[in-house]
Each structure stands twice: as structure tokens, then as C-alpha cells.
């Protein structure tokens, strides 16, 4: 199977271990991975802040880039960016662009959903020693309905003890919300602290998620609070053979 990587600008520049990990896991599962270097950003920050024309321009660009690939699937280590791409259709009035957006979206999958639902695997041959808890990133959870897949994958990693986050729970927002995190930082951090308190109570070595944005938010507060708990991307754990 040939996979074209939708790396996401955040993973590319700030969390390359997530993208690298995704490539390694996909190759381990027998996929050939391509990367089109023309890609930059899916436009989500612009779209979420209300800058539609800018978001549309970037959407058209990304659609064209992925159309030019005849890979079997486009895979991304980010639920929110995958959800954004699935949302592209609604950005356009023109039926031609809507159809093109729909066609690209049908081929685009978030990493854990791709592994479990398309490749049909949950054991990716990984090992990682540690007590972990999972944070459900909102767009992946609610837009893409990703909930079981990452948990199934993590439970099959040798050496991992996976625990569910105590209340307010794995499904509660981390408070990032893109520009919300800097427009309303006090509220963002108030929401975040409830999550970090729960992570503390869980007594884990690391919190894992499928979105680098959440990991930046959670990890940034964990370290500021002097916690030893690490923030890891799912792909990093799945790629690990330590």
C-alpha cells in the first residue's frame, strides 16, 4: 500500500518525532510512504479564527497537492488537521471544488484510524516501558469519532500499562482551541489545570495524544508546574522499539 504523508505544519516544525514515528510505523506495516514537500498548512488556524478567504486559498492548494498523488491513502498524525481536510467541502460554493474536496477527504485518514480500520491491525510491533494515559483530542474524538483505535493500539504495545484518566476524564477539552489559548489564556489555563490535575492523580509517566497542539498545551503546563510527566505523541510510542 502506498501512503502519502499529510505531515501538518505543527508536527513538521515543532514535533517532528510524531511525523517520523508515523512514517516508521507505516513502513513497519508494509506501506511505502511518500512525502510531498510542497505541503505547508491545512489552513485550520485561519478558518477557526474567521479568516475564510485565507483558509480557502490554502485548502485549494492542499487539495491540488494531494490530487496529484495516486497514493492509496493520505495519512496524518493529527485528528484536527484530518478533520479540517474533511471539512474542506463546506468551504466552497462551487460544485467542482466541493467534489474535489470530497474526493481528497475520502482518501484521508488520521493515523490510528488508518492502522486499525483500514489496515486492520492493532499490534504494530512496538515496545515502550511506561504507565500511560490517553487524552482524546476534541476534533479527532467528536468529528472523526476516534476513541477506541488509539486505546487498542496502545494496549498492544509491550510494556505499556494504559490507564484511563480520572474525572474530568480523557474526553474533556485541554483548553487549547487554537487562538483561544492566547485570546483567553486565563480560561484556557483554568480548563487545562483541571486536566493536568487529573493527569497528576493518575500517577503516570506520560500523557499520550494524537494531536501535537494538545500536547503543546498540556506539556507546556506540565513542565511549568514542575511535573516529571512527559507529553508524547501516539506515533512516538507506536514507533518505539525500546
Amino acid at each position: 500500500m502506498r501512503v502519502s504523508l499529510f505531515v501538518t505544519c505543527l508536527a513538521d516544525q515543532l514535533w517532528p518525532a510524531a511525523a517520523r514515528g508515523a512514517v516508521q510505523v507505516l513502513r513497519r506495516m508494509g506501506c511505502a510512504v511518500e512525502f510531498d514537500e510542497r505541503q505547508t498548512c491545512c489552513g485550520q488556524p485561519a478558518f477557526n479564527t474567521g479568516y475564510r478567504p485565507e483558509a480557502c486559498a490554502l485548502a485549494r492548494r492542499l487539495i491540488e497537492i494531494f490530487e496529484s498523488s495516486d497514493a492509496d491513502a493520505i495519512v496524518s498524525p493529527s485528528g484536527s488537521c484530518t478533520a479540517m481536510l474533511h471539512h474542506y467541502e463546506q468551504l466552497f460554493e462551487d460544485p467542482g471544488w466541493r467534489a474535489r474536496a470530497r474526493a481528497v477527504a475520502e482518501r484521508t485518514h488520521e493515523l490510528s484510524a488508518f492502522l486499525v480500520n483500514r489496515l486492520g491491525v492493532d499490534d504494530v510491533g512496538a515496545s515502550f516501558r511506561g504507565r500511560l494515559t490517553w487524552h482524546d483530542a476534541c476534533h479527532g474524538l467528536r468529528d472523526l469519532k476516534i476513541k477506541d483505535e488509539p486505546r487498542r493500539l496502545l494496549r498492544r504495545v509491550r510494556g505499556v500499562e494504559l490507564v484511563e484518566l480520572p474525572p474530568p476524564g480523557a474526553e474533556t477539552c485541554c483548553g487549547f482551541g487554537g487562538t483561544f489559548s492566547v485570546k483567553y489564556p486565563e480560561i484556557s489555563v483554568a480548563i487545562l489545570d483541571e486536566k493536568v490535575d487529573a493527569i497528576d492523580r493518575a500517577g503516570v509517566d506520560a500523557v499520550v495524544s494524537g494531536d501535537a497542539s494538545c500536547l503543546m498545551q498540556i506539556g507546556g503546563r506540565l513542565s511549568r508546574r514542575g511535573s516529571a510527566v512527559r507529553a508524547l505523541h501516539l506515533a512516538e510510542v507506536l514507533a518505539s522499539t525500546a
Binding site: D12, L14, P16, C31, P45, G50, C138
Partner: protein
């Protein structure tokens, strides 16, 4: 309105935050238990939303049908374009009917139009009879939650309030406090000339209005006084009597986790014989106040499907931290963040659509499946397109997004700029981030650097 300032004040109030945490958690648990009892909850949501969509698409027809049937049954139907007109109508009714004492049951629409102030200006002081509303009225405050308006007050605070205003022996026995309110209000019910209520649903087919409640104050308000005024937003109408079933199944479970509230009053016109129980006159006031505008697009139209259950408030991570007062209007929480800007105009409430992390928890719990994040995004796009906001912050933001768009369209420029930032250790001045969170630096090598340096060629591992 200053959402920012009020939100910060709320965050600093430890007692408020504890109360909000407790209330929203409890309501969430009760809701989950209640909806588990319904065999096809999702089907019920779909049906209810379909009924609302159908109604809104033909709102003029259904309103006319409702008005005709209500009038045929003896009600007098009034139409109010805006808040001021609605207040005039109600004040006029009170004057014509010689009403000096007015009791009110829960009506968010009446707070939206500032009815109490308008009546007070004409020498009539309506008494709120819903316990939570009574408490906030005595305290001179605004409600902070759709279903439990006084959730921000402790029993100690209420005890002090009742001691001061009712001359009650201070006691934080909740049953005693409720009993004190009951006693104080019974006289008012007995003497009231006019009762003002809200309306939960208005049935076009029969001209019936339905009012839900737990305390019994709405029943008293609508059955004892000679005159009953029922105020409703035009979006409250539903087509058929039988449609009530699905909404009665959804609303109480979503709002409080009850299968049904203690009372539903289904009122159709006036009594058939003078000797019957109930008011002599029923006046139904249909309120537009900006609602008709929302019909213009399918995205905004769904705002009007809201049945005011409060489930979105209880699910919202933002509301949970700041409560209702910060939203600066009678409608708080996620629905408030989309309804208030559309009723009042974005100029006054421009901050509200941005006060959300877009997590979507509200959409998950809404019994009529309103896609609140979609409406928030629509309002944000409108705010930017209209270019209304001035000031340095707004200007800088536009500049930032213009640069971002230009750079992201040019991958080589993007790569080069990132490489420069990397080499020169440039850190963006994001004080709003770094005051509370460490900022992750740019990775020493980006993914595309690694790819070019050899990752592209490595085989499967």
C-alpha cells in the same frame, strides 16, 4: 459588555468555581443516567430536530396557524417586533386590567426584554416566583444559569439574604430556606392581579401553550390571577400536538436528568365558563426581537431550534470555569455565545463567539443537535469579513494572518523562514502563552529536514 474582564473576575472567585464544578458535574451525570433509559435517544434527537427544521422553514405559516387557533379558543394574541414593543404591550395590558401586583414565573424572554425594569418604571414591581429567580431578584443580581439561576450562591449567602430581606432567622437548612420563600410568596400568589409566564412550546395545530416546571409557581402564576400574560419567542411554535411527546422526552432529561418535570401545564385559550377555574383573560405575546433575521441562513437558523434545556452549559469546559455572568446577557454558555451576538448584533457582543475552544461537547449533548461550533465559526467569519473591530490587537491579528497566508502559499519561503528562526533562536513574543505555559521551541531539525537528510530512503523498520 466586557467578557474578558468578567471572565477573569469569575476565575478569581474560588467559591463560584467550586459551585460550577459541582453543578455541571452533577447535571452531566444525571443527564447520562436519564438518557440511558430512552431506547432510541439518537432517533429522538433526529426527530425533534426535523420537527424544528420543518417549523422554521415555514415559520410564518405555523405562527399564523397558532395565533388563529389560540384566538379561536379565547386567547388574545399580540405581536411584538422588539423588546420595547413587547414591554409596552404588557404594560398596556396591566394598565387596562388594573393590575397593581404582578407575579412572574420563569421566562428568559422576559429578562431578554428587561420587562421587570419596564414595569417598575410604570409603578408595577413584578415578583419573581421561581425560587432561583426570586433569590437573584432579592439580591439584585442576574441569573447565572438557565435552569438553576442562583447556582452561584451558597446557602450561607442565601441565608444572609433572607435574614436581611425577609427577617428570617439565619439558617443554612435548605428546606427551611425554601419554606421561607414559599411562605413569603404565597401571599403574593393569593393577591396577584396579573401573572406573567414564559412558554416552552406553542402548538400551532391547537393554539395550546405548554409550560414545564418543578416548583408549582408557574401553575400558580397562570391559574390564580385574573389575567395571564404568556411571553414567547416566535421560535417556540411547533406544528402538531403529538409533536410534544418527543420534546417532553428530550428536554427534562437533557436539562436536569429527570424523566419529566413535576408539572406540565397545557393551556388552550381561556375558560369555557365563568365559573371555571383560571384567568378571565389570556394574552400571548409573540416576540421577534431579532429572531426573524436568524432565519436567513441554515447555519444561523438552527440557533432557533434551541429548547432552552441548559445541557450545553453543563457540558461546556468554558462555562464550567466562568459561569453565566461573564457572558453578559440573559443567555449564557454555548447557546448564549451564538444567540446573544445574533440578537444584539456583533458590535456589542463581538467577544462571545471567540470565547470557545470549539471542543464540540455542546453539540454532542444538544437534544436538537444544534451544531454550535458551526454557528460560532460562522459568526467569527462574519466578524472578520465585516472588519468591524479596530484597535492595535485587531490590526496586528490581520497582519499576522495576512503574513501567515502569504508564507504558507510558498513552501520554500516557509522552509527558509523556519530555518532562519531556528538558527537565530527567534521566539515569538507570546506572553499570553508563556505566562502560564512553557513554549515548546522549534525542533532542531524539522521533519522535512529529516526527510531530505535521509528519512525518505530508509526502508521499513
Amino acid at each position: 459588555m466586557s467578557f474578558d474582564r468578567d471572565a477573569r473576575a469569575a476565575l478569581a472567585d474560588g467559591q463560584l468555581r467550586g459551585a460550577l464544578r459541582h453543578a455541571t458535574t452533577l447535571f452531566g451525570e444525571r443527564r447520562r443516567a436519564a438518557i440511558a433509559e430512552v431506547p432510541d435517544w439518537e432517533g429522538a434527537r433526529d426527530r425533534a430536530r426535523a420537527i424544528k427544521d420543518e417549523t422554521l422553514l415555514h415559520l410564518d405559516r405555523y405562527l399564523e396557524q397558532f395565533a388563529a387557533n389560540a384566538e379561536r379558543a379565547g386567547a388574545q394574541v399580540h405581536w411584538a417586533r422588539d423588546a420595547a414593543q413587547a414591554c409596552d404591550i404588557i404594560a398596556g395590558i396591566a394598565a387596562r386590567r388594573g393590575a397593581r401586583t404582578v407575579v412572574k414565573s420563569k421566562s428568559m424572554a422576559s429578562e431578554e426584554i428587561h420587562l421587570n425594569a419596564a414595569l417598575a418604571a410604570r409603578g408595577i414591581a413584578p415578583v419573581e416566583t421561581d425560587l432561583g429567580e426570586y433569590i437573584v431578584q432579592l439580591a439584585g443580581e442576574e441569573p447565572s444559569h438557565i435552569v438553576v439561576p442562583a447556582i452561584h450562591k451558597t446557602k450561607g449567602q442565601i441565608a444572609a439574604l433572607f435574614a436581611e430581606k425577609l427577617g428570617m432567622e439565619p439558617s443554612d437548612d435548605v428546606a427551611k430556606l425554601a419554606a421561607a420563600a414559599r411562605q413569603a410568596l404565597r401571599r403574593r400568589f393569593a393577591e396577584a392581579d396579573l401573572g406573567v409566564s414564559g412558554v416552552n412550546f406553542a402548538v400551532a395545530e391547537t393554539g395550546t401553550i405548554l409550560i414545564l416546571e418543578n416548583e408549582g409557581n408557574a401553575r400558580l402564576t397562570t391559574s390564580l390571577p385574573r389575567t395571564h400574560v404568556a411571553l414567547m419567542g416566535i421560535e417556540k411554535v411547533i406544528p402538531r400536538f403529538a409533536d410534544l411527546e418527543v420534546f417532553l422526552r428530550l428536554l427534562p432529561r437533557s436539562g436536569t436528568g429527570q424523566a419529566l418535570t413535576a408539572y406540565q401545564s397545557l393551556l388552550t385559550g381561556t375558560k369555557r365558563h365563568p365559573a371555571d377555574e383560571g384567568p378571565e383573560e389570556l394574552h400571548i405575546v409573540l416576540l421577534d426581537n431579532g429572531r426573524s433575521r436568524m432565519l436567513a441562513s441554515p447555519v444561523t437558523r438552527q440557533t432557533l431550534a434551541c429548547i432552552r434545556c441548559g445541557a450545553c452549559l453543563n457540558a461546556c469546559p468554558v462555562y464550567r470555569q466562568i459561569g453565566g455572568h461573564a457572558y453578559g446577557s440573559v443567555y449564557p454558555g454555548p447557546i448564549g455565545a451564538v444567540l446573544t451576538p445574533q440578537l444584539l448584533g456583533m458590535g456589542e457582543s463581538a467577544e462571545l463567539p471567540y470565547a470557545s475552544s470549539l471542543c464540540g461537547a455542546c453539540r454532542d449533548v444538544c437534544p436538537v443537535k444544534i451544531d454550535i461550533p458551526a454557528v460560532l465559526l460562522h459568526l467569527r467569519a462574519q466578524a472578520v469579513a465585516r472588519g468591524g473591530s479596530t484597535g492595535t490587537r485587531a490590526l496586528l491579528e490581520r497582519l499576522a494572518f495576512a503574513s501567515y497566508a502569504a508564507v504558507m502559499a510558498r513552501p520554500r519561503l516557509f522552509g527558509w523562514l523556519m530555518a532562519c528562526a531556528r538558527r537565530l533562536h527567534i521566539v515569538p513574543p507570546l506572553g499570553a502563552w508563556t505566562k502560564w505555559r512553557d513554549l515548546r521551541p522549534l525542533a532542531p531539525r524539522s521533519f522535512r529536514d529529516e526527510w531530505r537528510a535521509g528519512l525518505r530512503h530508509e526502508g521499513g523498520r
